[in-house]
Amino acid sequence: MTSANPTTAALLEVKGVTLQYKTDRSQVTATFRVSFAVFAGDRYVLLGPSGCGKSTLLKAIGGYLQPSEGSVELAGREIIRPGPDRMMVFQEFDQLFPWLTVTQNVAFALTNGVGMSREHAIKKARDFVDRVGLSKFADTFPHALSGGMKARVAIARGMSVEPAILLMDEPFAALDALTRAQMQDDLLLCRQTATTIIFVTHSIAEAIKLGNRILLLSPHPGRVKAELGSDGRDDIDPADGLKKSERIHRLLFSEDRKPESD
C-alpha cells in the first residue's frame, strides 16, 4: 500500500470550512467548520446522509465555491478556482460532451487542461480508454453509450490528466446495482496507479469497500462526526462487538434518538 508516512505534510487540507449558498429565498449553510486532511495515495470517503453538505464540500475542493469561513489548501496553496489538478467525476450522465467521441472527450481534458498537443493527447486518451475497457467504443459518440460506460469515460478522462486528486461525486449512484458493483471492483483495481481520490457517497457499504479513510458527516449543517480508517472489510471490532457498518450507522443516526447535549 502507498499509505502516506504520517510525518509528511498532508496533500489536501480542509481547515474549518463553512460553506454557504443562496437560494432565491434564503441562505443555506451546507457545512459548518469542517476540517480534515487527505494524504497522497488516500482513497478518502466523504460519507453522510443527504443534506450533510458532502457534495457541496467536494465542489469547494473543486474550486467551484468559496468557503465563507476557513480555507481549502492543496499542497499548501489555497484553492480559488477550478482546475485540472483536481479533476472531477460527476454523478450525472451528461458530463460527457455529446459532440466529441469517447477518445476526443478524454483528449479534450488533456489539450485544454494540461496543454498537451493534439496528437499526443489522442494517443494518451486512447490508452486510458483502453484501460477502462472501452477500446471498442473509442470512436463512438456518448449518446450511444450506456450509463456505466459514460461513467467509465468520465473516470478515464479524470485519470488521464493525472490530477493531484481525483474528485468523485457519487459517480456510481445513478447506475444499476450490477454495474455499480463492477465499477467499484474496477476502481479498486486501479489502486496501483496510486491516484489520490476523494469519493462522496451516501452508501455505508460503498464507503467501507472503497475507502481507506472515511469521514462521517452529520446533516443540517454538515459537521464532522467521526473519521475512521477502513481496510475494505466489514469486520467485527472486538472492542464493541459491532461490525464496522453497524458502528458507522450508529454514529450517523444515533443523534435522532439521543437528545442533543449542546
Binding site: W99, F108, N112, F141, H143
Partner: protein, 290 residues
C-alpha cells in the same frame, strides 16, 4: 426432457453455455418501409400533388393574366433563367441577403455572449428583444428611407432588424439551457470566459442556435423580398422582389408567378441543402436532436 412431466419440486438450476459472440438481432426493412422513411421522397410526392392541382385549376380557369398554369409558370421561369434576367435578380437578392444575414447573426451572437457572461447583458438582451421582436420589419421602411435613402444600405438595415432578435433570442435560450454539469466540466479543464463559450457552451447549445439561424433565415428572406419592392429600383440589379413588381407592372402574370416560385425554391434549397445538411452532420449525429 419432458416439460409436461415436470412438477414444481423437480425444478433444478439450469445453466446454459452462451457463446461469447454478438447476435445480430435485426431485420432489414421492406422496400416500402425504406422508401417511406426517405423524407425527400415523401415531400416530393406532396409537391407533385400540389403542382398537379395547380395545373388543373389553371387549365380549368383558362385565364393566364389572372392565374397562369404550372406549365406557363415553369416556362416563364425557364425563360427568365435562360436569358439570365431572373438569375441576375436572384443573385442580387442573395448578395444583399448574405450581407444583412451575416451582420444580423454576428450582432446576435455578440449580444448572446454578453448575456451569458453578465446579468446586465442578459437584461439588455431580454429587454431589447421583447421590445423589437414584435416590431415588423416593414414598419421600419420609412425610417430606413430617412436614414439611408433608397439603396442597399436601407435593405441591409431592415434585414439586420429581422434577423437579429430571432437569432439572439434562440441563441440566448440555448446558452442558458446548457447544463451546469457541462459548464463545470469545461471549467474543470481550465476553460473560462470566451474559451468556455467557444468550446463548451456554443457547441452544447447548437440545436437552439441552429433553429435560431433557420428562423432568422426565413425572416430575412421574406423581409428582403418585401424591401426590394420598396427600395429595389435604386439598388443596382433590383433583386427578386423588384422583378416580381416589375412583371406585375407589365402585366406578365406568368413571370410574377415565376418570381414567386423562385422565392420559394431558393428558400427550400437553403433549408434542405444547407440547414438539413448541417443538422445531419452535427446535432443529429451527436444524438442531441432527432
Amino acid at each position: 426432457m419432458e416439460p409436461s412431466a415436470m412438477t414444481m419440486q423437480e425444478r433444478r438450476d439450469i445453466i446454459h453455455d452462451v457463446p461469447d459472440v454478438t447476435v445480430i438481432s435485426e431485420r432489414s426493412l421492406s422496400v416500402w418501409e425504406r422508401l417511406y422513411n426517405i423524407d425527400g421522397l415523401r415531400r416530393g410526392v406532396v409537391i407533385v400533388t400540389l403542382a398537379l392541382a395547380w395545373e388543373s385549376y389553371g387549365r380549368w380557369l383558362n385565364n393566364p393574366l389572372l392565374f397562369p398554369t404550372f406549365g406557363q409558370t415553369l416556362e416563364a421561369l425557364w425563360v427568365g433563367l435562360s436569358t439570365g434576367e431572373l438569375t441576375r435578380h436572384i443573385l442580387a437578392s442573395l448578395q444583399t441577403l448574405l450581407i444583412g444575414y451575416a451582420a444580423g447573426v454576428t450582432l446576435a451572437v455578440v449580444l448572446a455572449m454578453a448575456a451569458t457572461t453578465s446579468r446586465i447583458g442578459n437584461d439588455l438582451l431580454t429587454t431589447l428583444t421583447s421590445m423589437f421582436n414584435p416590431l415588423p420589419a416593414i414598419a421600419l421602411f420609412p425610417l430606413a428611407l430617412i436614414w439611408f435613402g433608397l439603396g442597399v444600405s436601407s435593405i441591409v438595415f431592415v434585414l439586420i432588424h429581422s434577423v437579429l432578435w430571432a437569432v439572439a433570442l434562440n441563441t440566448n435560450a440555448g446558452f442558458r439551457g446548457v447544463s451546469r454539469t457541462l459548464r463545470m466540466v469545461g471549467r474543470n479543464c481550465g476553460l473560462s470566459g470566451l474559451s468556455l463559450i467557444g468550446k463548451v457552451i456554443l457547441p452544447a447549445a447548437l440545436p437552439s442556435v441552429l433553429s435560431g439561424l433557420k428562423i432568422g433565415w426565413a425572416f430575412a428572406w421574406r423581409t428582403l423580398i418585401a424591401a426590394e419592392m420598396v427600395f429595389g429600383v435604386a439598388s443596382g440589379d433590383g433583386g427578386l422582389g423588384w422583378f416580381i413588381l416589375q412583371s406585375k407592372n407589365s402585366l406578365e402574370t406568368p413571370s410574377v408567378f415565376a418570381g414567386l416560385l423562385a422565392v420559394i425554391i431558393v428558400g427550400l434549397l437553403v433549408e434542405l441543402l444547407l440547414f438539413r445538411a448541417i443538422e445531419r452532420s452535427t446535432v443529429e449525429r451527436w444524438g442531441m436532436q432527432h
